[in-house]
Symmetry: C2
């Protein structure tokens, strides 16, 4: 019996990871992530995988299995659950803890059975599947790989990982278990490709703690540490140094406060009870007694650090002598925003340490040598690179070839590729429609490409609206057409010329007995577009409105 594997997201991109495993009429989904909009997604808030494929097979879904709590792996789950019934969600304790409030927000707190994935236990049965969870080190605690078995076929889905031999929580990637699974035989490994292009090893998370220990004790002013709200280990290391150096810790940024509370309650972050203070208490402390942990490492417009940088935070300001540690790397596309934040903070007098100039960040993904190591441990018969842009998948494929996997057993799939795995190996047998679903405000999926194209058009050169009246039965227009322009950069003489041209075009049409509104609009549109382009080399969106009176 064959196993069908269909990525609905995460291949050829970084983000919105969602993999469908199907056998014997049953489906388990591994991860259901979202992506953040790119510049061309004007006005869009979130990008989801298009789940039409799952909607059509909704009755077959047995469970969603989550590898870890990052948004690009869990963020689409509430939207998926709004459309299809998901009987069970399997994830580790911290992942469930971080997921629960998200489901509650969407009113889905009771909509599924949350089941704890326990790496220390053996395999669990989920319909026709057997699933086993293997501990992996990553930039959020309690991350797992998932070994799936169905119909005698064995797949290892690594999820995101690095081979950190000195992780902060001591829970290193379980290389012994990976080797054991390799010994049993793995027909196909779907592996994290994010850093496949980068040579060598990713540094241990502990290196960042060492940097904190070098930097923070010498500082007299306040220390702000910005990182991702889910990076509990990063927070733990900052908190440890704060405790050691007699600083109290204040958390600003809603998501970080929420995550920290969950992590503390579940025992994933440890600190003495009197470590944390509330923002108003900052005033009572000398600068050398305070550490501030905050969100905003990506320069996000409304985030805590951005508000601090722009002097817009109710409780926190920076001044000369303060130190800001940006303990994250800008996600591609966020560079300018992050630079703006750094510049603003520097202007405020703070010294800003960021990953380009100080070792205050390490990646959560393994580099080439780590991927080679995992391939060596697992010795998969076939490899399907996942999680990454095409260049990363291609680099991963090269590593697999180097590691002895036959070229014919390496699958470079795309979103929508249907990969069939049987005893002869994997091959792409079909393609299904995939794409993106945009979340914009309250709307999910109602903003489509055409709306984005229009937004882009207007964003380039603005809009020019011509309002003209014509009498019924093609009578001559009444008065001069009116023009409304926005975002165009108009001059009065040009507007006058356009108004006269509109009147001329209309008259000419009517004289030629062209009276149909649609045709009049077309003529107006084309002639005005040409005139505007001749005068300005701009192409505003031109919207002729004709009112019959």
């Amino acid at each position: 019996m064959a196993l069908r594997i269909t990525p609905l997201g995460g291949l050829g991109e970084v983000g919105k990871n969602l993999m469908v495993y199907e056998t014997d009429g049953e489906i388990v989904v591994v991860d259901a992530g979202l992506a953040f909009p790119r510049d061309e997604h004007l006005g869009v808030d979130l990008v989801l995988p298009d789940i039409a494929y799952l909607r059509d097979r909704a009755d077959r879904i047995r469970a969603v299995l989550l590898t870890h709590a990052h948004e690009d792996h869990v963020g689409a789950l509430p939207y998926l659950m709004r459309e299809v019934n998901v009987p069970e969600v399997w994830a580790t304790r911290l992942t469930l803890g971080l997921l629960q409030p998200k489901l509650d927000e969407h009113g889905l707190g009771q909509a599924t059975e949350l089941r704890e994935a326990r790496p220390e236990d053996g395999a669990v049965e989920i319909g026709s599947f057997r699933a086993e969870f293997i501990r992996m080190a990553h930039s959020v605690p309690d991350t797992v790989a998932i070994a799936l078995e169905a119909g005698g076929l064995r797949v290892l889905h690594t999820g995101d990982y690095k081979l950190d031999h000195t992780p902060v929580d001591g829970l290193r990637t379980d290389v012994g278990r990976l080797a054991e699974i390799g010994n049993r035989g793995v027909d196909l490994m779907l592996g994290d490709s994010t850093n496949a292009e980068r040579p060598g090893f990713t540094g241990s998370e502990r290196l960042v703690g060492e940097a904190f220990r070098q930097i923070i004790p010498t500082r007299q002013g306040r220390v702000l540490v910005a990182s991702f709200a889910s990076n509990v280990h990063r927070m733990q290391q900052a908190v440890d140094v704060a405790v050691e150096t007699g600083r109290k810790v204040c958390i600003i940024g809603r998501s970080m406060r929420k995550n920290l509370n969950i992590a503390r309650n579940l025992g994933y972050l440890e600190a003495p009870d009197d470590t944390f203070i509330r923002p108003p208490e900052l005033e009572e402390l000398a600068p050398s007694e305070a550490m501030i942990l905050c969100t905003g490492s990506q320069g996000e417009p409304m985030s805590a650090l951005t508000r601090v940088a722009y002097n817009d935070h109710p409780a926190v300001t920076v001044e000369r002598g303060d130190t800001v540690i940006l303990s994250a790397k800008p996600v591609p596309g966020n560079e300018l925003r992050v630079h703006d934040t750094i510049n603003r903070l520097a202007k405020g007098g703070a010294e800003v340490l960021h990953q380009e100039i100080a070792p205050v960040h390490v990646s959560g993904h393994g580099n080439a040598e780590e991927i080679r190591t995992v391939i060596g441990l697992v010795r998969p018969k076939a490899v399907m690179p996942v999680h990454g842009e095409f260049r990363m998948l291609a680099a991963h494929a090269q590593l697999a070839r180097d590691g002895g996997v036959p070229a014919g057993s390496i699958v470079l799939a795309e979103n929508g590729s249907v990969v069939e795995l049987d005893e002869r190996g994997p091959r792409i047998v079909d393609r299904v429609e995939t794409g993106v679903t945009f979340v914009d405000g309250l709307g999910v999926g109602d903003v489509r490409d055409v709306a984005l194209r229009d937004r882009r058009h207007m964003s380039e050169d603005g809009v020019l609206i011509v309002v003209a009246t014509v009498g019924t039965n093609g009578a001559q227009p009444q008065g001069m057409p009116e023009l409304i322009v926005r975002g165009f950069g108009e001059s009065e003489p040009l507007l006058d010329e356009l108004r006269e041209e509109s009147a001329r075009v209309l008259n000419e049409c009517l004289e030629q007995d062209i009276t149909e509104i649609k045709l009049l609009q077309e003529h107006l549109h084309d002639e005005l577009a040409q005139l505007v382009y001749d005068r300005t080399e701009r192409r505003p969106m031109i919207l002729p409105v004709i009112v019959e009176v």
Copy 2:
């Protein structure tokens, strides 16, 4: 007598460098550069410094002195010359050679006297100023620093530089001359801050040649090398390896072809006559016999490499076995476009080597140790960091303090700061209006912030136009209002509701004797905005059009 120094661009930003030096009623300008638009400059083609300050003092301008031929130092010169009379432009031979066609394009070929700056000669007199040109290594040949003397005060304006001790043309930064100028005494040094944050030294340009020599001889397929069109040394090094390995060189990309011809004609690039071929001749060569030099290292939409990547170039395609060397670093903001290009090329089968994974690029700007060295050589009494975002200027200031310049003699100025230098040192004495001038299509300066704000607004949530007719004298409206939406993501039920709401609002207004068009528009706008937000959490631009019939 004091010297007044006013930056109109280049401080607090990377780009549009323009420095005004004024003494005794005479002005010389050092550099007149442009900047490339950021994402928020929707639809804008170029960003220029606002030169109102110079326009008001146009009769005092004696000359523009150029440090080198990069766009961020010369690109605004034609626009400046369209507005004010520039009697002389001083620049080195290659800079003049690259400038001439730009002036010709703007019809300004005869508008000024182009004078060759010769570093090997001594100082020249320009009105009340004495100017001396010092050879500096940078990523375009024939770059100079400028020492200015006026009224007994001596300033060194470094321009962009690195301390490359093995530059490709053998013309290294003239450290002896810098020391000599230092010995004479420098009252103020304005120094390049770009890489002040980065520790250590920037690698020599020659390292890139060494990487080319390692990579290219082992390749069987075509080799494409993409870099900035002005980086003549980079091209020279690629061409040298092509000649050594028996490859012919084909240049694609208009600006690169133009620059290469100018550089060859002036003797800045040397290659045997039969090295270069035209694109159609590529077909006759085996892949192993061809090297392609091209523009597009920034993923610019219409550039040669982008067209190749998207299979849209008339003469060049890539296939399996080809190698693409991206010999440049993405300028912040261009990362995603560059990644798209890499992914497309990788999909086409090419191996893509870029600066993140191979040593195929070095910066043209000196790192911290180089800046320290120059401060040590020149021993300026005072330092004004220029050319860079604030964080870079601040890092440069720190290097100056470390180098023994008293904190009170370090000027952290902004665009528009008027810095007065006299025998007591420099200080900021005034602020003048500065800002940006946008070039959009044929328009220079007609697109302003309000147009950009409107473009941004429409780009977020689109536009909603309501067209309603009312009778004169406040008679009841005729028929239902019409709606036109673009970029909004509308649904029919919502449009129906909005149409009905429009009719209701209009009727209500007219019943209350509100008949003034402006007031009707306001009511319509506010009520529709609220309804749209309640239903969608979106805020399209709402434009009510009321036609009186």
